[in-house]
Structure formats: C-alpha cells, structure tokens
C-alpha cells in the first residue's frame, strides 16, 4: 500500500539540496526498519516519490513524499520510527495511507504557499506594505522569463492565487503544477520592478508553508493540502 509522508525542513537543513534529501530519507528509512517495498531488478531501490523539489536556501513546513509499503503496523508507528531518525531541523509531521485511486505525489502537486520574509537590512526602501495590495490587484503581471534558449513574456497573474501581508511578511500562494510552476522569487522580482527597484541578492527568507493538490476542476480549483486529498 502507498503511504504519504509529510515533513518539515528548517535551519541548517535548508542548505541540503533535493537529491541529497532523497538520499537522506533513503538512509533514514533503512535505519528506521520500516518495511518499505523495493523495486525488482539488479540493483533494487526503495519505491519512493517526492512531491516537489525544494530549492537550496528555502525552508518548509509542507514537504511530501510517497512510499510503497510491503507491510505496516500503523501510520503512527511509521511516523514514530522515522521521527526517531531525524536530524535537528527535520520533522515527520504526518503519515497517512493513500486511497488507491490517488495519483503519486509529484503528479498531484497543483499549488504551493510561501511565506516571504526580508532578511535584516534587506527590507525594500519603498512602501511595500501598502503597495502589495495594488500589485496583487493588477489585471496582469508581465515578466520576461529567461529560458536556456530564449526569453519569453509571461503573465504571472493567473498563477498567483493569493498574495497578502501577514505581520512583517508576505504570504504568497502560487501555481506549483509541473506545467505552470511559479517560483516565489519571480513574483517578488516583479513586485520590486513595479516599484522601480530591483531586489538585492539574498534579500528574502522563504518558507514553503504548504503544498496543495487540486480537488476541484481546472476552471474552479479547490486546493487541499497533499495529505488531505481524498480518493
């Protein structure tokens, strides 16, 4: 059966890249002695699928991966065993069994919510708190997206689902599907540009708050956290 595992990643662990986090979990799973299924073939590997890579430098309260289990006592047992293997900065937040008809974690990702904070001395010199609402209310937010081969103009607006001030930070919910993924930095760049500025390098501390699936339709999306998805 397939199990979805939600974890958080904070502190110094933000410097560990996606591939190394996968290796970290493979080893943690071996140490935890949970009965994960392996692929067949010459070099068997654990059957595991991560929802969405988290960029180096970002923290998260809403990361997910799925594993295929041969057998299990309970979700609580898996959570306890894995949690016991975590290093400081990593926590296993939730484990649940997936309904059979739910697609894998990666294919399910539709949106992600981020909290963006300014590093010390990196707060913008324009009145960002009052400008935020008007920026979000714009009809379209055009940016130039650099690809390897060319530049193309892109409207971010349809992919921004929420953007608001929360205490001293900005909360941003954006499209995170494989087709339309928007990086929070891209939105922030546009916000600065709108105010005639350019963000300094390393200005933001970004935390992914949650990763969502779409339980509604394309036209009328209904976003639910990846571990609340129903079959």
């Amino acid at each position: 059966m397939k199990v979805r595992i939600k974890f958080s990643k904070h502190g110094v662990m933000k410097f560990i890249g996606h591939l190394d986090i996968m290796r970290y979990f493979q080893k943690a799973i071996r140490r935890s002695d949970i009965d994960i299924a392996y692929s067949t073939g010459y070099s068997p590997h654990q059957i595991m699928s991560f929802a969405m890579p988290l960029g180096v430098g970002l923290e998260s309260d809403g990361e997910y991966f799925d594993v295929e289990m041969n057998s299990m006592v309970s979700c609580e047992d898996i959570q306890e065993r894995l949690e016991a293997q975590m290093v400081p900065g990593m926590h296993i937040l939730h484990v649940r069994v997936l309904p059979d008809n739910v697609g894998n974690a990666m294919a399910s990702v539709a949106a992600a919510r981020y909290r963006i904070q300014f590093r010390d001395n990196c707060e913008p010199c324009f009145d960002w708190k009052s400008q935020l609402a008007s920026f979000y209310q714009k009809e379209s937010i055009l940016v130039i997206k650099q690809t390897k081969k060319s530049e193309k103009e892109l409207d971010l607006k349809p992919g921004i689902y929420e953007m608001y001030l929360d205490n001293e930070s900005i909360v941003l919910m954006v499209d995170a599907s494989s087709a339309g993924n928007i990086k929070p930095g891209l939105v922030m760049d546009a916000f600065y540009k709108e105010n005639g500025q350019e963000p300094p390098e390393f200005a933001f501390e970004i935390t992914r708050m949650e990763t969502y699936a779409n339980a509604g339709t394309t036209e009328e999306p209904y976003f639910v956290p990846l571990d609340e998805i129903e079959g």
Partner: protein, 622 residues
C-alpha cells in the same frame, strides 16, 4: 537551531554548502560544560575526501567515547570558500560546534599523502594559527600530525608541535591526561611538549637538531634537550579485535568518495612487495576476529542506513576468514538489499564465484596488479604474481563471462630495462589472445577490453627501495612512450587501452616523500605563492614548485635521482617502525640480485616486527 560560522549569503553563494554545516547523522555534539579538552580532527582535503577516511572515523569515535573530550571535524575549505574566508578574515571553524579552530586545545591533522602539504598550511593559516610551531603562543592549539606521511615528518616538521607515530588507538589517552594535568598546574606550552615527548610514539620536532655534511646529507640528528628519546618506536595495537571501532560512523548528506560502511578486516600485509611502504609500516599482520566483524557489519549498516558495505585492508585475499565473512555478508546483504563492494581480490575460483554473485559480470572488470612487465622485474620488486597465474585467472574469468581486464604497472622501478617495459605490452597481448582462444566467436560480445595503466615509481622511506634513485621526468615520459609503442606493436593492440600518470607530480611526490627539514621552506614559499590542493591535478602548479625550489636554493636531484649509500643517515632514521634497517638492506640486496623473499606465512624473514609479540608472527603458536 544551531548557529553557523558562515552567513546564509556565503553559504548560498558557494558550491556544496553541505560541506560546512555539520549536523550529519551520528555526528557528536557535546556540552562545553561537560568536557575539558576540545580536539579538532582534520583531514587536509575537501570534505568528500576527508569524510571517506576510515582512520578519522575510528579516532573521532574513540575521542568522543572519552567523557572529558569533544572531538570535532574540520576539512579544507574548497577554493571558493577559501577565497571568501581570506577576504573577510573568517577564521576556520569546526563542523560540529562551528567554533573557530583557534579556540581548541588540539588540532590533529591526518597526513595521508605528500601532495596535501600545502593544504596543511592552508588549514593553519585560515585557523589563524602561526605556521611555524615555535612561533605559536600559549593559547594556540597544539598541532599534532599523524598518518602514513608522519613516518617521514621532516619536510613538514617545522609546522607541527607533535607527530604521533603509529596507530592512534594506543597513546592518545595518555597524551590527553598529561595535557589536562599541565593545564591544571598552569604549565607552559613548552613544558607540556616536553612531557608529551616522553610518551610512547610522540615526536616533538623542536626538541631535535639536525646538522648536515657538506654534501647535504645528515651528519647528526639528535635531541637538543635532556630526557628526549633518541629514537621513536611506532605505536601499534596488537589486539585489533578488542579495540575501538566506530559502530556509528557519520553519514554525510552529500555523496562522498566512500559512501558506504567500511569494514577493516585486518592491518598489515604479509607480502613484502619491495616498493610498498604500507606493507612495511603496518607490520605485523593482525586480523580482526571474523565473528566480531559480522556483528560490526550488521550494527554499522543498521546505524547508518548505508546501502553498501566494503571490506578494507591490504591484500584482502590473505585474510584467513575471508570466505566465511564474504559468505555471511552475501546472505545478510541479500536480505537487506545492500550492495557488497569487494576489494580487489586474487583471482581464483572463490573470488570469481563471489564476484559473479555480487557484481554484474558484463559491467565489472578483473583487476591484476603485476606492477612490472617481466618476471625478472617482478622478482626484483618481490611481487609474487607470475604470468601463469595471471593468464590462468584471466582464462577462468573469461569462461565465467568477464571481458574487461584492468592491469596496473609501475614504470621507473630499480634495475628496469627496456625489455622489462616492453613486457607490459606483451603481457597485455597475451591476455587478449587468451580471451580469443578461450571464448568461441559466437559467445563473444564484442572485443575483450584490456586497460593497462602505469604509474611512476616513487621510492618511499622504510622500504627496501629507500636507497634507490628515482627517474627524472624525462626518463618517466620516455618510458611511457616505450610502453605505448610496445602496446601499439601488439597483434591485439586494438583491444588494449593504455593510460599513464602525470610525471610532474610524481617527481614532486618523490622529493617530499624522502625530503628533509630543508624542504620545509620550499613548501611554505609555494603556499605563500597561492598553491593549495596540489593533489588535484587541475590545481597543481608545477612551475611554482620548480621556481620555489630554485629560489630557496634546494636541489631537486639531491632528493630524487640520487642513489643513497647504505651508510647514509636518513631524515627518518630516528623512527623505528618495527622493521629494522638491516632487514631493509638485506631486501635491497635481494632485489638487486633478483632474489624473491617468501611471505610472512611461508617463512619468517626476521624483519624485526616480531618484537611486537603478536599477529602473524605468532600464528599457530600459543
């Protein structure tokens, strides 16, 4: 959450920030309130190399078992961070606490190869510790070196307070106790070093003076102070089963060179190859108990979650319980989907059977290290591998489906002739021919692939070849050319690929390996001109090394191409590694006479290591 020595901005700008943040599974964090001695353990190369070293893992585990000690790790910052740390005057820090090295009581540096010497200076410099030991202040850490290169510590003697000669498991506790006592009594650095020098295996270079003859060789090497030992006997663990072994090795986040559980099955080697330093330094052979190793393997895999295990030792085929151990591991690893990474084994029925079970025959290759192209030269170097053995092994393997063969040779061995060199191509050709004779056409999947590699021979201290002349760069390259031509002239040349090493770095390694204290100023100068990471081909700057030797007035041929007289006093003669100079002289003469010496299990040669009262010297006796 723990603090970091480097800002986010720096960490996000450099390559692989995971090298510098610590926090790995099984890394040890202690409370400063609970400990009395802080020990920084350093491998002076990049994290991925340093983290792959078993010796540090053993000592890290040992130190941290001491309740009063906290041992942390430090590696060479890669060149990107190195530049930033210099620019911003950020002191080098330990991974666990992220505290500056300068605050530690000890900085222990393992010295595994000569080409890391400039990295040692980088470590000291970035730590803001004076490079020269005698210029250090009372509160600077005690800088202590260990590892194979400490068997000739003289080229780097100026930079160290102490060298620990021999195996680390034995004398550190005593050294730490002396240190604590000195600290408590408010003794000075010099007083501590004096007391340290009285402990077994401790060499404190500043308490020895060297005088030279007019020809540059050593006239006298002697203590300059009362109570300092004239010779230093290596430390050795005689019971390698009942000693420290890390049951919880640190698990790195990033992929390191040795990303697996490493099981050290024995120490030492019975073979006595005359070019090999390790084969002499680690005598006598001591085996770990196989039942203990089985238990270790299970426990270490459990504690790390690694998906691979490898066996480590010199000449692993000589481990008497190898079959039992490997059979056990195959069963266990199958259950847990763990890969077994085999060391290079003598090719025989057993090893071929094991290899076919744990490797993909089509992808893996056979490895032979004849080291020399002719039987004559193999007798000179005492490499007991004959053409017949190689060909029979290869034929058996070809029958089993293998079609790749790796061959390792050395060029520049003592007494080598053109005929010996040409033997390399001939041997490779015979192996290829054996393939075509053994495997019928319809069963072949393409050509046999033979890769012959040559390295350049570097005479090392404490070997029978320590008297030998080393070739010049030009001679080396000529010999590589002859090798290449001899391969090209073979019937099966299309099945043979030839690789050879860089010659420049071999020459330099030769100088450093048999260098004396005069070489230190060159190393310092080269470092000051910006050289680090000399072991990394792309960063090795030969021209700076050459010009620095010239500027310091230090002759290169004196160290390399000069054949030494039997009565010459060597810079390392004050160290007693167990093997006597008489034995080495005997072996040097045997080499020149092309006379083979049997291995330790066949017949004792009286090398001197029997005085350690154990290991292979007493096998079958009680």
């Amino acid at each position: 959450m723990s603090k970091l020595a480097l800002s986010d901005e720096i960490l996000l700008k450099i390559e692989k920030p995971a090298r510098y943040i610590g926090n790995e599974v099984n890394s040890v964090v202690k409370d400063l309130e609970d400990i009395e001695v802080r020990f920084a353990m350093c491998f002076p190369d990049v994290y991925e190399i340093g983290m792959s070293h078993l010796g540090i893992q053993i000592l890290y585990d040992m130190f941290n078992q001491f309740a009063d000690v906290w041992c942390e790790r430090v590696y060479s910052p890669w060149i990107d961070l190195d530049a930033i740390m210099r620019e911003k005057h950020i002191p080098l820090f330990a991974l666990e606490s992220q505290d500056p090295i300068k605050q530690f009581d000890f900085l222990g540096i393992t010295i595994q190869y000569e080409m890391c010497y400039t990295n040692i200076l980088q470590i000291l410099d970035l730590s803001q510790i004076p490079l020269i030991a005698t210029e250090r202040a009372e509160d600077d850490p005690i800088v202590i070196g260990g590892g194979p290169c400490s068997y000739n510590p003289e080229p780097i003697a100026d930079f160290f307070d102490i060298f620990y000669i021999g195996e680390g498991e034995t004398s550190y506790r005593e050294l730490l106790d002396v240190y604590k006592e000195c600290k408590k009594l408010g003794k000075s650095r010099a007083e501590f070093l004096q007391k340290a020098a009285a402990i077994s295996g401790m060499y404190v270079p500043q308490f020895y003076d060297v005088t030279y003859k007019e020809d540059g060789t050593i006239l006298r090497f002697e203590p300059n102070m009362e109570g300092i030992p004239k010779t230093i006997l290596k430390n050795i663990v005689m019971d390698v089963t009942d000693t420290y072994y890390p049951m919880k090795p640190i698990v790195p986040y990033i992929k390191v060179t040795q990303d697996r559980v490493v099981l050290e099955i024995q120490r030492g080697c019975i073979r006595g190859c005359r070019f090999c330093q390790a084969g002499q330094l680690y005598r006598p052979v001591r085996e770990r108990d196989v039942e203990k190793l089985k238990q270790y393997s299970i426990e270490m895999l459990q504690n790390t979650g690694h998906e691979e295990i490898s066996l480590s030792s010199l000449s692993s085929s000589d481990y008497s319980q190898l079959e039992e151990l490997v059979n056990f591991l195959m069963v266990e690893c199958e259950k847990k989907k763990i890969n077994i990474s085999l060391p290079s084994l003598r090719i025989d029925a057993f090893s071929l059977d094991v290899m076919s079970k744990v490797q993909d025959v089509k992808k893996s290759s056979l490895t032979f290290a004849p080291e020399a192209g002719s039987q004559r030269l193999r007798d000179v170097i005492n490499k007991g591998l004959t053409e017949e053995v190689i060909l029979n092994g290869a034929i058996e393997a070809f029958k089993g489906g293998w079609s790749r063969v790796k061959l390792y040779f050395m060029l520049g061995l003592p007494t080598e002739t053109e005929e010996d060199i040409k033997g390399i191509g001939e041997l490779a050709n015979k192996i290829a021919a054996a393939f075509y004779e053994t495997v019928p056409k319809e069963e072949r999947k393409g050509k046999v692939q033979i890769v012959a590699s040559t390295s350049f021979f570097i005479p090392k201290p404490f070997t029978p070849f320590q008297w030998a002349a080393m070739n010049t760069k030009e001679e080396f390259l000529d010999k590589a050319y002859i090798t290449k031509n001899s391969i090209m002239a073979q019937l099966n040349q299309k099945s043979i690929k030839y690789n050879w090493h860089e010659a420049d770095v071999s020459v330099l390694e030769g100088i450093l390996a048999r260098g004396d204290r005069k070489v230190a100023k060159v190393i310092k100068r080269v470092y000051e001109k910006g050289c680090i990471y000399d072991a990394w081909g792309e960063m090795f700057k030969n021209d700076i090394w050459l010009s620095s030797f010239a500027e310091c007035g230090v002759s290169i041929p004196f160290y390399t191409t000069r054949e030494r007289a039997l009565d010459e006093v060597f810079p390392w003669d004050f160290i007693d590694c167990g093997v006597t100079k008489d034995f080495l002289i005997r072996e040097w003469k045997n080499a020149v006479n092309e006379s083979v010496t049997p291995n330790c299990r066949m017949q004792c040669q009286g090398c001197g290591a029997k005085r350690f009262e154990g290991g292979v010297c007493y096998e079958g006796q009680n």
